[in-house]
Symmetry: C2
Subunit: 115 residues, 2 copies
Amino acid sequence: MHTKAATITEKICPLEFAVNAISGKWKIPIVWQINEGKKRPSELLRGIGKVDRRVLNQQLKELEEAGILSKEIFKELPPRVEYTLTPLGQQLVAVLWQLNDWGKILLDKQDVVAG
Amino acid sequence: MHTKAATITEKICPLEFAVNAISGKWKIPIVWQINEGKKRPSELLRGIGKVDRRVLNQQLKELEEAGILSKEIFKELPPRVEYTLTPLGQQLVAVLWQLNDWGKILLDKQDVVAG
């Protein structure tokens, strides 16, 4: 039976919440590139390739609002914007490394199936 | 510059591959429910709630093809089908627990922001 309480508990399942926070288009590549030391939107544009500026800015905004990235604006001419990982973002990167390792096993397995 | 080799390397990035394998609708809830001991499609239908039978079957098929689930058909009347996690699926569950823990931190943080 589905009580109201059960529905609410499901809705805020931490795993689902985590997946939603990182499942936007390009969010994982953005976090990954920033982890590798890229800071400025122009560097991210070059690093990720297919993403366009408008989409990139939207994803950066959402990642900042989620507390994963921190944005710093330097009052220069022209103004400079830099993004870095917050501690929460760094914790996410640690989990993504685990998922990356699992992806390697999955890739090897698929190669065996395909080969 | 984007060389062909670089493009291929990006394309088979293990992390991206992992995310693609689990980002289908309901795939994470399905893996989660099977981890909790549910085995039959009818149990999964009751456990997940909003998913319909056709979508569930498609997702189960894809998870089986990826080597995450194993399917067993019991030749009874009516025929009985059961799904279990493969070792690869169990390794995925371990990573999902990490992501769940990260989701808890994220949730706490959002509560603070909202409160």
